[in-house]
Amino acid sequence: MKMKNNIKSVKSFQGLILALQNYWASQGCVILQPFDTEVGAGTLHPATVLRSLGNKPWNVAYVQPSRRPADGRYGENPNRLQHYYQFQVIMKPNPVNFQELYLGSLAAIGIDMDLHDIRFVEDDWENPTVGAWGLGWEVWCDGMEVSQYTYFQQVGGVELDIVSGELTYGLERLAMYVQGVDNVYDLVFTEENKSNGTPKVLYGDIFHQNEVQQSAYNFEYADTIKILEKFKFAEAECMALLELDIALPLPAYEHALKASHLFNLLDARGVVSPTQRQEYIKRVRDLTKACANSYVNKENNIKEKAWKN
């Protein structure tokens, strides 16, 4: 019988990130850095949306700060944030033992699977704004969802020939579980280390003010007229970049992401009616689909050229 003390549990938020990065690096993943445009989820990073298209193998892991303006609670809710972190893994094509690799990552962050009940519960994933869907599970640890596990079938409206396995860990929630904490602001971000004088830093020390201020911005002060203009600009810029003689899908996709975030802001400000809502989502989806198609065409052209040379 394995005893609990054999397993080193990860005691800090940064320790959790480091452990996941180390683990997935040792599985052959490129450890990428976050994308520098606001996104609603780690999936939207071009390293996932665009790289899961086409036929090139690609293994990657990265942290992605994610923003959902409407989820702001002025720092008053113990587990809702308008800015939080996701840890994202993509393996393309998914290896046969992707499930076992995933379970290995839970062990790596100190979850003792003799003591805790891990379950794969049906959950089909869909993201209408990027025209993507896949089949998979929510992974439960003692009844709590600790990850989303998906085999992509379609991205950007394009049916995939090579399937990527995607893992998304909600880092705050996972850390709360590992640290046994009920309020996200009480999470230990950095552990105290007397030997080098590192003080203990809590998640709240870093992010509480950010939640208070950003919530006020999202709900009260964001200038909806200007944001609508910015949305239209981002949309037009995206289309213009795709319509160039030599299309530029990568910057175009950035503008699609900007449009998506700006729409989320408008939504949080409560100026979008339900009918308009559907229309905006469709507009963003049209952008990402166009980007995906252009990206795939470009990939194919590059490949053809490589053959000719």
């Binding site: 019988m1 394995k2 005893m3 809710n77 587990n79 094509p93 998914n94 290896p95 046969v96 992707f98 499930q99 379970l103 699977m113 003799d114 003591l115 805790h116 009940d117 891990i118 379950r119 794969f120 519960v121 049906e122 089909d124 896949g134 089949l135 998979g136 599970w137 640890c141 003692d142 009844g143 709590m144 085999y151 079938q153 995939l160 020939d161 090579i162 399937v163 579980y177 009920d182 009616s273 339900p274 009918t275």
Partner: protein
């Protein structure tokens, strides 16, 4: 016979698909093998979270078949004979046989012997074909493969008599290797046969193979754990089935939560447990109320006896319920009524406006109907406007299936009128054939108006149910209308209700599509069809339903009474005899109608005294029937009709209907027409078949 054993091992199959998949796999294997001449015996199949299991006894080979093919006669033209040789694959006429037929002449034929195939080959082909065409509700590709399965396929065992069958699906070759439970199993192992597999998987692999066994264990353990703690399990069969599909090695644990959460409505707690967490709710047998406990089924045993697992699950439930409490607190900051203007923001249907528009229409219609339902129109109006106000509460956004219940709870907490509370709570009822119908008069008005409005709206935009497609649950709505009317004995004609609905639409929302009469007629027909289904489901005969409804299907209550009385009457001797007399008379009329137009006008001079008697009886009967039907005493009306039997019998016995004298004949026929029309006051006897 030899044993065929197959295991299809994959990543976790969604629980809701497992039982059907196991059944389908077995069915498809059995029928596929049968088509190739292998009959399966002693079939066993199982399913679990990661596997489909199939075992059957099959013959070692498929039987030899011999086929005879008939050709042309021996003296047939050369061309025909050549054609026959070609189609039979013969080069020489001497290879064909000749059958002697003295009547029609001798003819050529061939006999081909088809040797039976080894079961190995057949099984391999059938298995590959079944797997490539398996009917999963949703399937996926994985990696670089184009093969579709419910989740990635990981292994296949296919053994005949212990020998591996050479076949492969998706680059996975069948072998004798499998693995047990993720934590408790000791890695991959090989098996020799089905019984060896069962033994090893259960004992070393720690996997309970049979869904039923897992189900029994969970149920019994859960009951026992509850009993040991002085508690009582709340049965939930469908949850039990689902949970049995989530675990290979079930371990039942009792978890607990903060009793403060019991302040939440019990439906919220149960729903949170069931849909989000797959826990069974538990009650305190002394009070019958929910107890602050739950049953969770883990997929493993743990060195600490499951203490950590139970604790972790308790925490998750607490987080969920704190959310619910937070929602409740937020929602109750406002009166329910204050949500009304927010209903503008919810689209009922893109062509049919918002939920607020709908509420307005329902309020007008329900108020119009109120006097017929003995309901207070003011209460009805208010209830209809409050009915949908919970749709924008946090609680209903989170727990959609509790719509209505949440609104009722909030309104009751505000100290609102009890009839209105009931109306909000019951507005969606009946949800299915076994659900109760509302019985409070205010609730009836709102529930009925809501359904009628929905039906009329979707009919107006041509969104009717087709075949198995009924995305807006319109059949259920129509059945709901029928049941509410019947079970509350409401004396309102369907067509009157629809008229009210049409006029209420004009008052409430003139921008909706114009309705022409054909829309109303089509909806009326649809509701009548649902009504017929309802009567049939309640044991009424189809032909009697048709016979009665042909006359009038508008007043559901009276139509039901008439069908019931008629069915009862026709089970008596009197009824059976009367029916045969009426039919005899009807048949004569039909026959005569073909020859020439039937005489019209009243009966004038009758000569035969039997005919005179019959006329007297008919006049009397008709008077009584109309009277009784008016009083809705249908069985009395049938009795009145049955009084005609004797005079008709005597009339038929002694009077020749087709008299040579055309005047007498015409009057006789007029008598029969009178009889038909009199019977028609009750039902169309010609439509009765039995």
């Amino acid at each position: 016979m030899v044993e065929l054993f197959i295991e299809i091992f994959s990543e976790e199959i969604p629980a809701r698909m497992q039982l059907k998949a196991g059944e389908n796999f077995s069915k498809l294997m059995v029928s596929g093998l049968k088509r190739e001449g292998l009959l399966c015996e002693k079939i066993i199949y199982h399913t679990g979270p990661r596997r489909l299991i199939f075992k059957a006894d099959i013959p070692l080979k498929s039987p030899d078949l011999s086929e005879e093919k008939k050709g042309p006669r021996v003296n047939a033209p050369e061309k025909a004979i050549e054609g026959f040789l070609r189609s039979a694959g013969l080069t020489n006429l001497s290879d064909a046989r000749i059958k002697v037929d003295e009547k029609k002449g001798d003819y050529y034929y061939t006999k081909t012997e088809k040797k039976g195939l080894n079961s190995d080959q057949i099984v391999s082909e059938v298995l590959v074909s079944v797997m490539n065409n398996f009917p999963w509700p949703k399937s996926m590709k994985s990696g670089r493969s184009g093969f579709r399965w419910v989740r990635p396929l990981r292994g296949i065992i296919c053994l005949i008599d212990g020998k591996i069958i050479d076949c492969a699906v998706d680059n996975i070759r069948a072998d004798r290797m499998t693995e047990g439970h993720r934590r408790h199993g000791k890695g991959p192992f090989t098996v020799k046969s089905f019984s060896d597999y069962c033994h090893k998987l259960e004992n070393e692999g720690h996997v309970m193979i049979s869904h039923q066994d897992r189900k029994n264990k969970i149920f019994n353990d859960a009951k026992n754990v509850c009993a040991e703690n002085g508690l009582e399990l709340i049965d939930d069969i469908s949850l039990l089935d689902e949970v049995s599909g989530l675990v290979e090695w079930p371990n039942v644990l009792l978890g607990h939560m903060d009793p403060l959460f019991l302040e939440l409505p019990s439906e919220v707690i149960k729903l949170s447990m069931r849909t989000h967490q797959k826990y069974f709710a538990v009650r305190d047998p002394s009070t019958g109320n929910l107890s602050p406990h739950f049953i969770v089924v883990s997929n493993q045993t743990a060195p600490d006896g499951g203490a950590e697992i139970a604790k972790g699950n308790g925490k998750v439930l607490s987080a969920r319920l704190s959310d619910a409490k937070f929602f409740q607190k937020e929602d109750m900051k406002f009166d329910l009524e204050e949500n009304y203007s927010k209903l503008d923001s919810i689209v009922f249907h893109k062509k049919l406006g918002s939920i607020r528009d709908k509420s307005e229409r329902v309020a007008v219609l329900a108020t119009l109907m109120a006097p017929y339902l003995n309901a207070d129109p003011e209460l009805v109006k208010k209830a209809a406007r409050l009915a949908k106000c919970d749709l924008v509460t946090n609680m209903v956004v989170e727990f959609t299936s509790l719509q209505g219940q949440i609104g009722a709870m909030y309104y009751a907490a505000e100290g609102g009128n009890k009839d209105i509370v009931k109306a909000i709570e019951d507005q969606y009822k009946p949800q299915g054939p076994s659900d109760n119908v509302p019985s409070n008069s205010v609730a009836i008005a709102v529930a009925l108006a809501d359904k009628i409005d929905t039906l009329l709206c979707f009919w107006g935009i041509q969104e009717k149910p087709t075949g198995s497609k009924d995305p807006f649950a319109l059949r259920r709505a129509a059945l709901g209308v029928v049941r509410i009317i019947l079970e509350n004995k409401i004396k309102l004609n369907i067509s009157n209700i629809l008229e009210m609905a049409v006029s209420s639409r004009v008052i409430a929302k003139p921008c909706l599509p114009e309705l022409d009469t054909s829309v109303i007629d089509s909806l009326l027909f649809f509701i009548t069809e649902r009504f017929k289904v309802y009567l049939r489901d309640n044991g009424m005969r189809q032909d009697l339903i048709n016979a009665v409804l042909k006359r009038d299907a508008n007043d559901l209550l009276s139509a039901t009474n008439r069908v019931e009385s008629l069915q009862a009457f026709l089970s008596t001797e009197e009824g059976i005899n009367l029916l045969s007399v009426c039919k005899r008379s009807g048949n004569i009329l039909k026959a005569e109608e073909k020859k020439a137009e039937l005489p019209c006008g009243d009966v004038d001079t009758l000569t035969h005294y039997r005919a005179k008697n019959l006329l007297g009886a008919l006049i009397q009967a008709r008077k009584n029937i109309v009277l009784e039907m008016g009083n809705e005493s249908y069985s009395m009306a049938m009795t009145a009709l049955s009084k005609l039997r004797k005079p008709i019998d005597l009339f038929f016995d002694e009077v020749k209907v087709n008299d040579e004298n055309p005047d007498i004949r015409a009057n006789n026929l007029r008598l029969l027409i009178m009889l038909r029309d009199t019977a028609l006051e009750i039902a169309d006897f010609d439509a009765i078949t039995g």
